[in-house]
């Protein structure tokens, strides 16, 4: 699925609600939740918080977000073997990840990227993009 055609306007339209949802889930100050805040690095999220955030986004935007969806989308059309080897992203996988996470400042993605650490890169905008992709995949019932 292409993500390049998600426009800045689309993201801007839902960012306030996404930020508020994330702030609620993490119990942090809404003012600290910036579009490029790393959830784990800047906002102190733990892996279990992702479940809570995804659940709250599902309810807030009336979309279904299958568990593990961001990682699955991150891989795009690459097979698992093409994407990573022994827990580290292949050059093709890393290139794909940089395209997919275009909202993440490039210097935060340090080569070689460990597959298990991809989630550390996710920003508030990453979640906004996921919501938009799911809204497109299945318009609100």
């Amino acid at each position: 699925m292409s993500t390049t055609n998600i426009t800045k306007e689309e993201i801007a339209a839902i960012l306030p609600k996404v930020s508020e949802t994330i702030a609620d889930a993490l119990g942090c100050d809404a003012a600290d939740v910036k579009p490029d805040s790393s959830l784990i690095g800047d906002l102190g999220a733990e892996s279990i918080d992702f479940l809570d955030i995804v659940f709250r986004l599902e309810r807030a935007f009336k979309v279904k977000i299958p568990r593990g969806k961001i990682i699955e989308d991150a891989r795009g059309s690459l097979s698992e073997a093409e994407f990573e080897k022994g827990g580290t992203l292949t050059p093709a996988g890393e290139q794909r990840l940089r395209e997919f996470l275009s909202e993440v400042p490039a210097d935060r993605i340090k080569s070689p990227v460990k597959a298990a650490e991809i989630a550390k890169l996710f920003t508030v905008e990453t979640f906004a993009k996921m919501v938009i992709r799911q809204q497109r995949a299945a318009p609100a019932a």
Partner: protein
């Protein structure tokens, strides 16, 4: 300091989901939680008449029932969403639905193994996965899994059932670790031999031998289990998580 009392359990006005509530232990759990002032929604597999009896047994209580096969994860999630959309809270989940298909291992059919594991283990997983997001977002919840004495101690003819209950014990301890930071407690109650339809055959076949191994010299009643569930759901167990509480009259294996 006030002594613990039923009226002060912290359960009043809460919402509980109980799986397999139409008969036996499940019915007693439904009645006990409803008596504590909770709204109880229970599932049953197919016996609508028995489900009606459970509701009728507690006149005036807020009890409703829905036919849900806990083996079906989509059905579990749809059911839980329906309850949460209406009540906006799920305080307690009791995973009670369970089946037995006792036989010597060599005699077990594929279906005997799969049905027991799918209902007793996957059913609990399905319900936990459905309910946890709601509890996590509220930062509060209690899950009580109904295990069995068989989960810890061996029992001839119960390899499938014992395996399922051992799995429940492991799941209980591990899930407690995962969700403790969200103020969700996960515990199990491990009943011994209880006077229910499920244990009827074994009681008829070996009642005397069973009683001889129970320190308290009696078969348990469904209420004995329901009281333990009440305790683990109430605020009186606020500092207890990841535990398997045996409620078996002091059961001794050979």
């Amino acid at each position: 300091m006030n002594a613990p009392s039923r009226a002060d359990s912290g359960l009043a006005d809460g919402v509980a989901i109980v799986t397999g509530g139409s008969r036996g232990i499940g019915r007693a759990i439904v009645g006990t939680l409803a008596a504590a002032g909770m709204e109880v929604v229970f599932t049953y597999l197919g016996n609508a008449a028995a489900a009606e009896e459970t509701i009728a047994a507690s006149p005036g209580a807020k009890i409703s029932a829905k036919a849900v096969d806990v083996r079906d994860s989509a059905a579990c999630s749809a059911f839980v969403e329906e309850v949460a959309d209406r009540t906006e809270r799920i305080d307690v989940l009791v995973n009670n639905a369970g089946v037995i298909r006792d036989n010597l291992l060599g005699m077990l059919s594929d279906d005997d193994i799969r049905t027991v594991l799918a209902t007793n283990v996957e059913g609990a997983f399905n319900m936990c996965r459905s309910v946890l997001p709601f509890m996590m977002s509220k930062r509060r919840g209690r899950i009580i899994n109904i295990s069995s004495v068989s989960g810890e101690k061996g029992g001839r003819g119960q390899t499938n059932y014992a395996a399922s209950k051992g799995a429940i014990n492991g799941m209980t301890r591990s899930l407690a670790c995962e969700v403790a930071s969200r103020n969700i407690r996960v515990n199990a109650v491990a009943p011994g031999v209880i006077e229910t339809e499920m244990s009827k055959t074994v009681r008829e076949l070996a009642g005397d031998q069973i009683s001889a191994r129970i320190l308290l010299k009696r078969i348990g009643k469904p209420e004995d289990i329901a009281h333990a569930v009440w305790f683990l759901a109430s605020r009186y167990s606020d500092y207890i998580t990841g535990q398997i509480l045996s409620v078996d009259g002091g059961f001794k294996m050979e």
